[in-house]
């Protein structure tokens, strides 16, 4: 049994001597245990407490991050000065190359629109709802999530997909008024339906709290090689289909490791997508609904 008094000797005498101190410790311990058990049974009060804390801490984090951003900007500025000549050369080359790509993209866009009209296929339903900033990383040994500075005030709701321009980041898990928590795809609890771009085979990307994810539930005759690109499949309706997700980095027997395309270790701004899976139904006829 835990002894709350230090006995006859020792310098800890007095730590628990004040009247009511044992009671206070017992009550706080009981309160902590109650919170823990309520969380275990997923009581809504716990979600409210967490979202309340999110809304309080987010402005604090925004203030704390200002000097860090200044230091980072200053470092980037000096870094840019050093490489300004090389960057200029590279940008000239990129510009020439991208002009060629622009012509190709415009032609393909026109062709795509024409084909969609012929097939009565709906437009891609993926729009950006809001582009918040990551203000804090929320994580420990068993959690990978970040806090962003947009919440219900911007129309954010649970389950929305979050990406960067490189690829999928995660999904919104907990929404406060001014802040939201985003569960990263590398989190232990993350499961994302995906497909292999080259073969079209479907699987599930499972987070494991490390930089790599496991590709599981592939068909028995799986055909996956290192370097294959992985896209979201759209199954389940949380993530829109065909979003860039990851790249296969190791294949051994039935185990396939993938690395995320988005740089989850250095997140800055992210896009929360406004995605309604109902608009994916082919041959929509909303007048008749």
């Amino acid at each position: 049994m835990i002894r709350l008094s230090s006995g006859t000797r020792g310098s800890s005498r007095g730590l628990f001597d004040r009247p009511g101190r044992r009671l206070a410790i017992s009550l706080i311990l009981l309160l902590s245990l109650t919170l823990f058990i309520l969380g275990k049974v997923e009581h809504p009060a716990i979600t409210k407490i967490r979202t309340g804390m999110q809304d309080i801490i987010t402005p604090v984090m925004a203030v704390l991050s200002v000097p860090v951003e200044w230091a980072s900007d200053l470092s980037d500025w000096f870094g840019g000065l050093v490489s300004i000549y090389d960057d200029n050369e590279r940008l000239r080359e990129d510009n020439t190359r991208l002009r060629d790509w622009k012509a190709i993209a415009e032609r393909l866009d026109l062709e795509n629109t024409r084909l969609r009209q012929q097939l009565n296929a709906p437009e891609s339903p993926v729009d950006t709802l809001v582009t918040p900033r990551v203000v804090a990383v929320q994580g420990g040994p068993y959690v990978r999530s970040v806090l962003v500075n947009a919440g219900a005030d911007y129309g954010v709701r649970d389950g929305l997909a979050v990406t960067t321009r490189k690829g999928v980041v995660g999904r919104v898990l907990m929404v406060g008024a001014a802040a939201s928590r985003v569960l990263l795809i590398t989190d232990f609890n993350s499961r994302v339906p995906v497909r292999v771009e080259r073969t079209g085979q479907n699987g599930v990307a499972v987070g494991r709290n490390s930089q790599l994810l496991s590709l599981q539930f592939l068909p028995v005759d799986m055909d996956v090689v290192v370097g294959d690109r992985i896209l979201t499949s759209g199954d389940g309706g949380v993530f829109p289909p065909d979003l860039p997700f990851g790249e296969v980095v190791a294949v051994a027997d039935a185990a396939v490791d993938i690395r995320t395309l988005a740089d989850l270790e250095n997140l800055d701004f992210v896009r929360i997508l406004k995605f309604d899976p109902r608009t994916m139904e082919p041959g929509e006829d909303k007048e008749g609904l």
Partner: protein, 170 residues
């Protein structure tokens, strides 16, 4: 004659300051700086704080402050709400009874003591997390967290010590 304002500021700095400092450190470590993969291995600041406080201070820690500090740690680390307050209070009670072993001892002895306490506390957190999530959690990330926490103790202890010295001067 009324006490000067600096007197009250000093009282607040002595009473609330250490907890505010610990909470600030917990939050500062959560800033999204470029980490290249190391950002998730963060030291358990509040555990280091409780150990340092008990070994180096005569006064009892306000239990409510400990509870709030634990909640901040829960929030920052994404742990189940209530888990870190429980761990901190149990560590506090156990350590308060064994404080005499660390008084007037070398830093190495204190550091070894902290390593032992941190190992036990994080092992307990593993049990709680596994119960909470309904399955045994992997041990690897916990071990990394333990190593980082033990390695960071001299730095965190230095920060707490510097603060204590600066407040005691007034």
């Amino acid at each position: 004659m009324a006490a000067p304002l600096t007197h009250y500021i000093t009282l607040v700095a002595r009473g609330v300051g250490p907890f505010a400092l610990a909470a600030l450190l917990v939050l500062l470590m959560r800033l999204p700086v470029q980490t290249d993969g190391l950002g998730w291995a963060m030291p358990h600041v509040t555990l280091a704080f409780v150990f340092y406080w008990i070994v180096h201070n005569q006064k009892a820690i306000p239990v409510l402050a400990l509870f709030l500090l634990g909640l901040v740690e829960d929030f920052a680390s994404g742990a189940p709400l209530g888990m870190n307050p429980m761990i901190l209070i149990i560590v506090y009670v156990l350590l308060a009874n064994q404080r005499r072993f660390f008084i007037n001892r070398s830093f190495a002895v204190c550091w070894a003591g902290f390593a032992f306490i941190a190992s036990a506390a994080l092992a307990f957190s593993w049990l709680l997390e596994s119960f909470y999530r309904g399955q045994p959690m992997p041990v690897g990330p916990l071990f990394l967290s333990l190593v980082v926490t033990i390695a960071a103790y001299p730095i965190l202890g230095g920060i707490f010590g510097r603060y204590q010295q600066s407040v005691q001067r007034y």
